[in-house]
């Protein structure tokens, strides 16, 4: 690190530190089941958005098919558990591995499509995957799969770390989801500082220019979709173990893919904090409107997202994080041409 980079760091680490403390302490303060449920969903959706951000935000490849990877994670661990008694921890690894393979297989042909066509192809991919699962009886078809409860000697539902199931208190799910989100966020931050991050941003900006600078565009896009798929699949397994029930409707639907994208876009695309901010705003809002307006209010939360997205795209395409930046004076956002460029450049060469 150079001196240039060091100065703003302490303030920023302080912000991250307080976010971590708040996240750790929140479920101990807000102890109701509703609050805990919102907290767990918030963390899982934030993970989905952060994983989407690697592909859609950093690399600029807008995907509306990430639910496929979520579904692969949920279904792989659940099928292995129900059919073969495999621990969901191993199932989680298997799901991540399968999602990685599928990501590479579909990424290879789909990344040849430019711009909007890639986004459209990902929608098709999602529909194909959910149709297959809905009609595949061996994995529960349209009715889905129920994960049997772990029971103690008295036959009461109990907790088991080995089986990744917590029936006494849901608190462990919260902390597991928090660890997963922290890991996904850390990986995103590390990518941004590395060659991979610079290359993905270059690809998002201009693929031809990136090629002219030696960037093997397809290879780096595949790296992005692979990382995105792995974290999304792990979140899928955790989600399945939390709900103890999966079906194509909840794990593979298009809304879920769109939600992952919307949260990241709302918060701020291509930034580390954006998906977290987006989830922190959107998930409680959606859950609370649903709670207050009852079953009939199902569409109200969608209406709210829609409205928010319209406002964001109109007034602050950089997302909520962009609004925050407006209040800070940053040298990057100041008007240009304050100082003329140095006159003779060849002199400086000698």
């Amino acid at each position: 690190m150079t001196a240039h980079n060091r100065r703003p760091l302490p303030k920023r680490s302080l912000v991250w530190l307080s976010v971590i403390v708040v996240a750790l302490a929140a479920p101990l303060v807000f102890r109701s089941d509703t609050a805990l449920n919102i907290g767990i969903l918030l963390l899982l959706y934030a993970t989905l958005a952060q994983a989407w951000n690697i592909l859609g935000g950093l690399a600029g490849q807008i995907s509306f098919g990430n639910a496929v990877f979520f579904g692969i994670g949920a279904y792989t661990s659940t099928v292995l558990l129900v059919r073969a008694g495999v621990s969901p921890w191993l199932g989680m690894l298997a799901g991540a591995a399968l999602a990685l393979v599928v990501a590479l297989l579909v990424g290879f042909p789909m990344f040849r499509l430019g711009g909007h066509y890639f986004a459209i192809a990902t929608i098709a991919l999602g529909e194909i995957a959910s149709t297959i699962v809905t009609n595949w009886d061996a994995v529960g078809g349209a009715t889905g799969i129920v994960i049997p409860l772990v029971r103690d000697a008295q036959g009461q539902p109990s907790d088991s770390w080995r089986m990744l199931q917590f029936n006494q208190s849901r608190l462990p799910y919260y902390y597991l989801a928090l660890v997963l989100l922290a890991l996904t966020t850390l990986v995103t931050a590390l990518i941004l500082r590395s060659k991979l991050g610079y290359y993905l941003r270059a690809i998002r900006n201009d693929q031809q220019a990136a090629r002219a600078l030696g960037v093997a565009v397809l290879r780096y896009k595949l790296a992005a979709i692979a990382l995105s798929a792995i974290f999304t699949a792990i979140a899928g397994t955790l989600y399945a173990q939390y709900l103890l029930y999966i079906d194509p409707e909840t794990t593979m639907r298009l809304d879920l893919s769109v939600l992952a994208a919307l949260i990241a876009i709302l918060g701020g695309v291509g930034t580390v904090a954006g998906p977290l901010i987006g989830a922190a705003v959107m998930v409680p809002m959606s859950e609370l409107t649903r709670a207050f307006l009852g079953g009939g209010g199902n569409a109200i939360d969608l209406l709210l997202y829609g409205g928010l997205i319209v406002l964001i795209s109109l007034f602050e395409p950089q997302g909520l994080i962009g609004i925050g930046r407006r209040f800070r004076r940053s040298p990057r956002s100041q008007p240009v041409a304050v100082e003329p460029a140095p006159v003779s450049s060849s002199e400086e060469a000698h």
Binding site: T2, R193, S194, K195, Y198, Y199, R201, A202, N205, D206, Q208, A209, A210, R211, A212, L213, G214, V215, A216, V217, G270, P331, R332, P335, V336, A337, E339, A341, P342, V343, S344, S345, S346, E348, A349
Partner: protein, 246 residues
């Protein structure tokens, strides 16, 4: 042995023959001007050499290797870099970050890429603009970023596509100084321009294209007097009048 050898390169788009068996060579450390009127096929030839188009026939050899059909990203690693006529700055990355992307062709370390970038920002006179976003630059500055970025890949041959266009006369003078400074680093340069006046003084050798064919090549002074070149630029009637007057 020449660093770059373009050997009877032909590029056909359907019925259009954009390049017709064009051949020329570039020696190490040489500045070669590739000129011709608009539509002569300069940019097409450029795209063939830099790996953005695969020629219909013919061969391109670079540093002793047949590189015909190699994709651009592979050529960069072999030591052949290019800039674009219409600047393609990464608009939401800073000037330094733009140049770092180029530097990553030679290193995996972010610190090393930053060091290479800062050195080239000083070389191209952009040091004071390092933290400005690419989208907030003037055209002349963007052209410098293109150049700094391409240099960061540490090429042996740099292909510059119309670096002078859109610049004021003063800025052109600075650009010419910069190109000479690039050559002093031991890098060969191919300059594509349709403005003859800017290419002639800086080039060691000039290749002239017209309607897809090479119509002349040689030292700038010789090429400037070539009747075919004059005809291509100023029209056949002008050439006849010159001959009548002579």
């Amino acid at each position: 042995m020449p660093l770059l050898e373009v050997d009877r390169v032909t590029m056909r788009f359907g019925g259009l023959l954009a390049n017709d068996a064009v051949s020329f060579g570039v020696e190490p450390g040489q500045i070669v001007g590739l000129i011709g009127p608009n539509g002569a096929g300069k940019t097409t030839l450029f795209n063939c050499i830099s790996g953005f188009l695969r020629p219909t026939s013919g061969h391109i050899r670079f540093a002793g290797q047949d590189v015909t059909g190699w994709p651009a990203e592979r050529l960069v690693h072999a030591g052949l870099a290019r800039t674009f006529q219409i600047v393609r700055t990464f608009t939401d990355m800073t000037v330094r970050e733009n140049v770092m992307v180029g530097a990553f062709a030679r290193t995996n370390s972010t610190a090393e890429a930053r060091r290479i970038a800062d050195e080239l920002l000083a070389f191209t006179g952009l040091a004071s603009r390092a933290d400005v976003l690419g989208g907030n630059l003037t055209v002349a500055e963007k052209k410098r970023v293109e150049l700094a970025r391409a240099l960061a890949t540490q090429p042996r041959l740099l292909l510059l596509d119309e670096v002078m266009s859109g610049l004021t006369p003063a800025e052109r003078g600075q650009a010419v100084d910069l190109i000479r400074a690039v050559r002093e680093r031991g890098i060969a340069v191919v300059l594509v321009e349709h403005i003859m006046e800017v290419v002639m003084p800086v080039s060691d050798w000039v290749v002239v294209l017209s309607s897809g064919r090479k119509i002349a090549e040689g030292p700038p002074a010789t090429v400037a007097r070539d009747p075919d070149v004059i005809a291509a630029y100023l029209g056949e009637r002008y050439r006849q009048r010159m001959q009548e007057e002579a």
